[in-house]
Symmetry: C3
Subunit: 429 residues, 3 copies
C-alpha cells in the first residue's frame, strides 16, 4: 500500500481532469474498475458538474528569471482549480493571491477554489517572507473548459444483492494521508474480498470529494437503498489511533460492528457521534438517503497539524498503520459478513456438550463462547448481538459456532428473502 501511495503521490489530482484520470487508470491495473465520465453541465441534484480543470505548468519568476515558486516542484504550489494567468505584477498586487502558513513556516498549504473562479499560489511562509518588493512574472498555464467529471467503481459481487459500500475521495493532489491512504487501503480491501466470495456485494467508490459523492448518489438514487452497510475511508495511514464516526442513524449494524471490534482489540480508539461536517458521509447521510454509513479514519481531518499541507507527505504515513487500518476493517467486514441468526436446536436446558466431545475445560473462554451462542440463539439474536452481549470477540465466537453447527446443535436461521430464493415454485399451481 505504501508503494502505491508513493507511486501516486506526485500526480496533480483535482475534482476533474487528467490527473484524476491517470490515478484511476493506475488503480484499474490493480482491481477491476468501471470508470464513469459525467459531462460538464450535467445537473446532479442541487449541483452542476463544473468545467474540467487541467494544468500543465505554473510559476512565479523573479526579475532574474528564477522560478521562486514552481508547480513542477510541488503541485500544492497552485491553488487547485486556478484559472489561467499570464502577467507581470508587483509583489503588492500579487500578495492577495499568495497563501502561506505562518505557524509552520516551511510547509506549503493546500488550497482550492472549485466553485468560484479565482487563482492563487501556495508557498512556504519562509519563501513568502524572503520575496523582495519587486516585479514578478506570474504564469498559471491551466485550462477550465467543458469536459467531464471522472469517477470509478469496483464491484466485488457477493451472494446477496445487498451492498456494503466503501467510498474514498481521490481528488486530493500530493498528500499521502489525505487521501492516498484511503485509496490504497480500499484497493487492498477490494483485492482481498475479490478472492473471498463474500455474502454481501461490495462496491468501492473512488470519487472526487462532495461533487463526486453527489454525482454517484444522483446516478444511483433508486439503487441506493441496496446499501445495507457502508464506510467512508479517509486519513487511514497516520500514527493516530483509529477514530470512528457513527452513521446518522447512530445504531446501524456498521456502527455496532466497528465499535465491537474496536472495544475487543484492547487498543486506544475514539468514537464520535455523527455530525454533518467532515467527509462524504455528509452526502451519504443526507436526510434524503440516510444510508447506514460511518466514517473510518485515524487522525480526523483538521485535527492534526500536517492536515492539508505539504507536510502530509509519504513520510507522514507508515506501513504498520496502513496495515492496522486494513486489518481492523477486515475484522469489521468479517463480523458483518457473519452476522446471521442461528437457532439452538436443543433449547430446553443446556444440551449435554460432553457426550458430543464439545466440552472445553470449565470456565475457559471457549466454553463461555459455546454457552453464550447456545443461550442467545433463540432466533432473535444474531452474531453481532451475541458478540455485544457476551463481550467476546468474533474470533472467539466463530469456532464455537462452527463446533455447534458440526455437532448438530445449531442451525442457521434463513431469512425469508433467502428462503424465497430457494423455493421459487411456492406460488405455482
Amino acid at each position: 500500500m505504501l508503494a502505491l501511495i508513493r507511486e501516486l503521490f506526485p500526480i496533480c489530482r483535482s475534482i476533474t481532469g487528467d490527473g484524476l484520470r491517470q490515478t484511476l487508470s493506475r488503480l484499474g491495473e490493480l482491481i477491476p474498475l468501471e470508470t464513469h465520465e459525467v459531462p460538464t453541465g450535467t445537473q446532479v441534484f442541487d449541483w452542476t458538474i463544473p468545467k474540467e480543470w487541467n494544468i500543465r505548468d505554473a510559476f512565479i519568476k523573479d526579475r532574474s528569471g528564477r522560478r521562486v515558486v514552481d508547480f513542477e516542484e510541488n503541485n500544492l504550489h497552485v491553488v487547485n482549480y486556478s484559472v489561467p494567468v499570464r502577467a507581470r505584477m508587483t509583489l503588492r498586487d500579487l500578495r492577495p493571491h499568495l497563501h502561506s502558513l505562518p505557524a509552520h513556516a516551511d510547509w506549503i498549504p493546500y488550497r482550492t477554489s472549485y466553485y468560484t473562479e479565482a487563482w492563487g499560489f501556495c508557498l512556504s511562509h519562509r519563501v513568502l517572507e524572503s520575496l523582495p518588493d519587486d516585479e514578478y512574472e506570474v504564469v498559471i498555464d491551466s485550462s477550465l473548459r467543458a469536459g467531464a467529471l471522472t469517477f470509478a467503481e469496483c464491484v466485488v459481487p457477493g451472494r446477496l444483492d445487498d451492498e456494503f459500500l466503501i467510498s474514498t475521495h481521490v481528488c486530493h493532489p500530493s498528500m499521502a494521508n489525505d487521501n492516498l491512504s484511503g485509496v490504497a487501503v480500499a484497493v487492498m480491501l477490494a483485492r482481498i474480498l475479490a478472492g473471498a466470495r463474500p455474502r454481501y456485494t461490495y462496491r468501492f467508490l473512488f470519487l472526487p470529494g462532495t461533487i463526486g459523492a453527489i454525482t454517484w448518489l444522483a446516478l444511483n438514487e433508486v439503487a441506493a437503498p441496496k446499501v445495507k452497510h457502508g464506510l467512508v475511508l479517509a486519513c487511514v495511514g497516520d500514527r493516530g489511533d483509529v477514530h470512528y464516526k457513527r452513521s446518522r442513524r447512530g445504531d446501524a449494524d456498521i456502527d455496532r460492528a466497528v465499535e465491537h471490534v474496536l472495544r475487543t482489540k484492547h487498543e486506544p480508539f475514539a468514537v464520535e457521534d455523527f455530525s454533518p461536517y467532515g467527509y462524504d458521509e455528509r452526502q451519504f447521510c443526507s436526510p434524503g438517503f440516510d444510508l447506514p454509513m460511518g466514517g473510518f479514519r485515524r487522525s480526523p481531518g483538521g485535527q492534526y497539524a500536517e492536515y492539508h499541507s505539504s507536510a502530509d507527505d509519504t513520510d507522514f504515513v507508515s506501513a504498520p498503520h496502513l496495515a492496522h487500518s486494513l486489518g481492523t476493517l477486515l475484522e469489521v467486514i468479517d463480523l458483518i459478513e457473519n452476522d446471521v441468526k442461528f437457532l439452538n436446536l436443543s433449547p430446553m436446558g443446556e444440551p449435554q456438550l460432553g457426550k458430543r466431545g464439545l466440552l472445553p475445560a470449565a470456565g475457559e473462554t471457549a466454553q463461555l463462547a459455546l454457552l453464550w451462542v447456545l443461550n442467545l440463539s433463540d432466533g432473535r439474536s444474531g452474531v453481532l448481538d451475541i458478540a455485544e452481549r457476551s463481550g467476546l470477540p468474533f474470533d472467539v465466537l466463530r469456532p464455537a459456532i462452527e463446533s455447534l453447527l458440526n455437532g448438530g446443535l445449531l442451525e442457521e436461521r434463513r431469512r425469508p428473502a433467502d428462503r424465497s430464493e430457494r423455493s421459487t415454485m411456492m406460488h405455482e399451481p
Copy 2:
C-alpha cells in the same frame, strides 16, 4: 421588578383576604388581570374553600403597656390565619403559642395554620429569651368569616389555542424571594409577551398556594389539557444558581427546553427529577392532570437558611438575579415558541450553499448550524431536537434557519391543525 417587590413587601397577604386582593389589584395596574372570587364553602375536588381571614392588628403588651411583639412592625409576627384572641395571660400559658428560631436568634419565623383553627405569634429568639416571667396582654384582632378565595389570571392571547401556563403563588406575606420574586418575574414576562404576539397563548396564574392551584384546576378541569407547556415560578430572585425540577413526565418539551437552555449557557445549574413535594407542581402534576409543567427556581424552598423567615427580605433578592431568571425564562420561551418542524427542500445530498451566498467560513459554528438544520430537517425533527442533537444554542440555530428559509432551502412543516385553520373551505363542495 425589585421596585415592585419593595412596594408589595409590607402587605400582609394570606391564602384569602384583603391583603391578597390589594396585591392583585396592584398587579392589575401593570398587566390585564381577571380576578376571581370563589365563595367560602365551595367544594373544589377534595377540598373546600375556607373562611376568609383578615387582620387589623395584633400585639403582645407587657405590664408597662409596651408592645414587645407588634404586628405593625412585621406581619410575620402573627401566625398566618390565627383566630381572634383577646386575653391576659402568664408567659407560661402564652409560651406554647410562641415560635422562634433558636439557630437564627434575630430572625422571625413564618408560620401558618390554615386548616386547623389556632393562633400564635412568631418572634426572634432573642426577644423570646428576654421576656420576663410576667403577665401579658395578648391581642389578635383578626376575623375568620364566610367570604371568598381570590386569585387572578392574565391571558396573553397567541396564534394557537394551545397554552403555556405560568403559575406563581401570591399568598406569602412579607417575604421577598418566596414569593414576590416569582410574582414580579411573572408580571414582567406577561408584559414582554403581550408585546410579542406569541404563537402559544400564555396564561399567568397568581394563586394562593395549594388551595389556589386546586381551585383553578377544579374550575378548569375540561380546559386543562390545552396546557402544552408550563412552569411554576418560585424563589427566583436570590443569589443561587438556577434550579429546575422536571415535570412528572420527565421528558416533556418544557423539560427538554429548559435543560437545553441551561446546558448551553455555560453557567452552573441544577436539575432534579420530579417529586410530589414542593410548590404547586404537586397539583398540576397530580395523576388526574399530569400537566407538562416543571418547577423553575433558584435556591429551592427549604434549602436556604433564610427560607420562611424575616431574613427573606428585600435585601435577600437582587436585581441582577431577577434579571437573570427573567432572561433565562425568555430563552426557554423563545425555544418553545420556535420549536416547529422544517422540511429540507433539497434533501438528496447537501444543497450547494455557495451558489446561494450561504456559505460561511468552513468549520465555523454558523456553517455547522446550516448543516445541522439541513441534515435533521427531515420532517421528524423539530428545532428542539436539532438543538439537542447538535448541541448548538437556539440563538445560533435561528439565523441559520432564517437564511435557509430565505434561500428557499427550507419550508416550515405545518401541523394539520394549522393547515385546517388556513383552509376552512376544504370540506365544501
Copy 3:
C-alpha cells in the same frame, strides 16, 4: 440454620444415591417434602439419567497397612462418582489418580466425574508430597448401577396459581457454603412462608445440580410458565457481601425487586448481568424456558479460595451471614408479594390529607411516602415502580399504603384474572 448445616455436613452426597436420599429425608422432617425418584436411563431433554452411585468405603493403604487417605475421615477424599477399584499399585501408577491443591497445601480439593467413568482420590498437597515411592493398596468400595435420581419439592400454596420458584442444589458432599447454606436458608424460608398464607405459590426445589434442574424442567415443561419469579440460592452463608446475578431477561420483576432491596439497605452489594455460566440459572434461563430467575449468593462460586475444597467447612459459614441472607430474601419476597397496582381515588390535585388526620410533619419521609403513593397510583404503576421511582424502601411505603387504603383514598386495582375468580357467574344467562 447453622445447626442443620452441621448435622448434614458429614453425609456423602452426590447427584444420585443414598446420601442424597438421607439428606432429603432429614429435610422432610422439617418441611413438607415430595420426593421424586427418576429411574436410570430416563431421557430428560438432551440428557439421560445416569446410573446411581453409592459408596461404602475408600482408602489408600501404605505397605504398613495404615490408611494414608481415608474416606471415613472426609468424603471429599474420593473423586465423586468414582467407579469401584481394588488394586495394589505403585505411586507412579497411582499418581495420575491423585488430586491436590499445591497453593493450599492443607486443603483437600473437591472433584467429580459424573459423566465419564473414572476414579481418583483427593488429598492435601502436604500428604501427597509425603508419600514415599512405594506400593499401595487402593480401594474404592463404590457401586454404579441402575437406580434413580432423587430430588424433592416443597410447595407452599398461595392465593394465586402463579409461582415463585426457589431452587437450590443439594448434591455437594461435605461443604458448608456450597451448598448446605442454600439448603438451610431455603428450608427456613419455606417454614416462614408456610405460616404466612402468601399471594404467590412458592415452590422450593432441592435438586442435584444441572441434571436435577434439567430433570425438573423436563417433567414440568408445560407448567414452567407458571413461574413468575424465581431465585437460585447458592453460597449464602459466607462473610462476603450479597451478590445478585440478573435473570437472562435483565429487567424481570425479580431483578428489579432484589436490586431495590439491596440499594435501600445501605450496605455494600454487587449486581452482575446474566451470563450462561454459574449455577442452575443456566438451565432455568435456557432459551427454551427463559424463566425470570436470578442468582442470589454471597461470594460467588469460584471467586473465593475455599471454593470446592475441604476449607469450605462449617466454620466458613456464620449464623449472622445466614440470617442476613434470609432477611434480605424475605424483604425481596415481601416486595414481590405486595407489588400490586393501586388507584388513587382522588387523583385531581392532592387530596386533603389533613382533614383525614393523615398528615405527618411536612418534609418527613412518611409524608413523602404518602405523596409518592398518591402521585403514582394512576393504574399503571405498581408498588415496585413506586419504590424504584421514589427511592423509598418498601417498609416506608407500606404504612403509607395502609393509611391511604384505610382513609378511602386508595383502592387495589384488581387484575382481570382476580376479577374472574370472584365473578364466576358473569357468563351465565
